[in-house]
Each structure stands twice: as C-alpha cells, then as structure tokens.
C-alpha cells in the first residue's frame, strides 16, 4: 500500500522530508491516509469516537516511530499495521466496558428493517451484523473484502499466518450469511 500520485510526492519522499526535520510534511501523509484508515477504524470499532481516537493514536505513533518504517514507499501498509493494533487495543477495552450501546444498535438495526426504506434498512443491518463478528474474524474480513488486501499483505499487517487468516475470513463469511439471513427474513 503506497501512493505515487501526480499531484504530490510519493510516500517515500514525504517520509524522507519528515526525517530531514520537516515535521509539516507529515500532514501530507495524514491527509493521504486519513479517509481509508478512518473507514477501517470505523468499521472495526463501530463508532466514530473510538475510530477517531484509534486513528489519531495511530498517526501519532507512526510519526514517533517513523525511523522504523523500513520501506518508506509502503508507508501506508506500515501505518495500517499500527492502526490494526490500535483497533485491537481499543476494541478490547470497549469489550471490557460492556457497553450497552451494542444493544441499542441491535434494536436500531431491527427497527430500521421495519420502519425505513429497504436500502437504508439493509445498510444498517449489515453494519450491525459486522459488529457481531468476533473481532479477529471481523478484522480479517475487513482487510480482505473491504480493503482488498492480499493474504500476504494481511500477514504482514496482522502477524497471523495465511492459513489462519483464510480460516477467519471463511468463518466471518459464514457468520454474516447466517446473521443476515436471520434478520433480513424476519
């Protein structure tokens, strides 16, 4: 995951500028990856406050550890790995808090199926179903089917083996199929 666009510098060039002391150049990397990484965090954590906390934390940690980015042209993939870990940490903390909002979201999604238009209801139901997945399976599903990473890239980011990741993706798909069938056909 790296970007070479015609309107700006490559990831590697921006990283080098930062390492040369141009701290402001880091804003270019933030701007470049905020939306994609923000989407992952939002899908993984399920609410904007946690997602933005994870995102900010990942970018700040990325800056402070920039010397350890061994392939600056693939800064995005490296930063993605940091974000994945931040989401794991925040997700675990959230689970320990036993938030009641999860139940509220469930009620909302089911209400939506009945009360809103079909497309809106399906969208809400899908988000609810993804939130029900075990975090490891949700993580693998998002990286594979939303971020469209290869299993090799996923291994690099998560540290899990290819076979373990394939198993998680398969289980996520089966669970989504089961959950969505139950809710949509209620």
């Amino acid at each position: 995951m790296g970007i070479h666009d015609v309107t700006g510098e490559s990831d590697g060039a921006l990283v080098q500028r930062v390492l040369d002391g141009d701290t402001a150049a880091y804003a270019g990397l933030v701007s470049r990856y905020r939306d994609r990484l923000g989407r992952y965090a939002m899908r993984m954590l399920g609410n904007r406050a946690d997602a933005e906390e994870a995102l900010q934390d990942a970018f700040v940690r990325g800056y402070r550890s920039l010397r350890r980015c061994t392939d600056p042209e693939r800064f995005g993939a490296w930063l993605f790995g940091i974000l994945v870990n931040r989401c794991r940490t925040l997700g675990g903390r959230r689970a320990r808090r036993q938030r009641t909002v999860v139940h509220d979201e469930l009620a909302l999604s089911r209400a939506s199926v009945r009360d809103e238009g079909e497309q809106f209801a399906l969208r809400e139901t899908i988000r609810w179903a993804v939130a029900q997945l075990p975090s490891a399976n949700r993580e693998a599903f998002l990286l594979k089917h939303v971020e469209e990473l290869s299993y090799e890239e996923m291994t690099e980011i998560t540290g899990a083996s290819v076979s373990a990741l394939k198993m998680r993706v398969m289980r996520a798909r089966e669970e989504l199929q089961r959950l969505l069938s139950e809710v949509v056909h209620d």
């Binding site: 804003a27 899908r43 700040v60 920039l66 940091i82 089917h145």
Partner: protein, 190 residues
C-alpha cells in the same frame, strides 16, 4: 453468482462506503505530533560507531564468530543463545562481560537463498543499511558481531531488504504496535 455471493458482495459494497471523519482531526494529530520530539533520520553506521565508545574486542571474538555457540562456551561468560527450527533459522549469541563496557554480540541467521541480510534493532536505530550481515561460510549462514553495552535490545533480521524475520526461538516482544513481533536480547553482567 450464488445468492450467498451476492449478499456478501453487497456487504462489501456497504462497508466500502466513505465514512465521515471529523475535519478537525488532521489539526489535532499535527498538534500532538508537534508537541513531541522531532523525528530525525537514523544516524549512519560511521557516526554510530563513533558515538559509541571504543570497543575492546576479545581475541576470542573471531572464534565466536566462526564457531558460534561452541566458541562462546569457551569464553566462560554468561551466554544467551537461540536456535532456529525453521528453514531459515536465525539465532543470536551473546557473550556478556561483567564490566559495564560493550560486549560482543554475535547474530547468526541461516538464509541459504538470501541475496542480502541486515541486522536492525534498537542499537542501530532500525537503520537497515547500518549493519549488513556477511556470509560467514559458504553454507548460507550469515553473521555479524556488534558491540553492545549492557541493556535490553529489540532486533530483527531484514532479508533481501524486504522480509522481516524475527527470531522464532528468541524471546519476542509484543509491547509495541509496529508490525510483527521482534526478538529481544538482553546484554548484562556475567
């Protein structure tokens, strides 16, 4: 396409939709970045060697480099070692002196198909060009010996400039967020 495939495709489409992120987030990130220390490029190997004190290398250091664990055992010093069970097993061997002076630490990895191998770690600011490893013998073993002052160091091997290899038989660290776990070596007294 089956009904199940269509459903999962729809799931992916929905999840790919953009999300609204606070437009002020960039400013908050940069404020926090600027509030901390400035990140600088790692220093080069020459500066690194100069910064560290002159190291007294034991005459047995060369023997340790060549013969690994056996040579270290001859030194009669405290030894930390790791063996490598995989096809490309890395290992590190430490002979630490009781003095608060740099100790020779030998890092070894078996990588028969590698074109280049470098050692990266806390001790060289994770600079992949600072500590290249050399083929110690003609059988795929790469080795380098570096002086390390007493302390705890995280390290890994970088094979062909892109494959990050932690030492599977050495203690690993999971106390950061920067990708696969690294290995840990502790250099201490005798």
């Amino acid at each position: 396409m089956t009904e199940r495939d269509m459903l999962l495709e729809r799931v992916a489409e929905v999840l790919k939709e953009p999300v609204a992120i606070d437009p002020d987030l960039d400013r908050r990130i940069m404020n926090e970045v600027r509030a901390g220390p400035t990140v600088r490029a790692p220093i080069g190997p020459v500066a690194w060697l100069i910064r560290r004190r002159v190291v007294s290398v034991s005459p047995l250091g060369g023997l340790a480099l060549a013969a690994g664990i056996a040579a270290v055992a001859l030194l009669g010093r405290s030894v930390w070692q790791a063996t490598a069970p995989s096809a490309a097993p890395p290992s590190a061997t430490v002979a630490a002196t009781a003095e608060p002076t740099p100790s020779l630490v030998q890092f070894v990895i078996l990588a028969p198909t590698a074109g280049t191998v470098s050692l990266v770690g806390d001790f060289n600011d994770w600079d992949r060009s600072a500590t290249p490893m050399r083929p110690a013998r003609g059988d795929g073993i790469w080795s380098v010996t570096v002086p390390l002052e007493p302390g705890r160091y995280r390290y890994a091997f970088l094979v062909d400039g892109q494959t990050w290899v932690a030492d599977p038989s050495a203690p690993s660290t999971f106390d950061d967020d920067f990708g696969p776990p690294n290995s840990v070596v502790t250099v201490g007294g005798s």
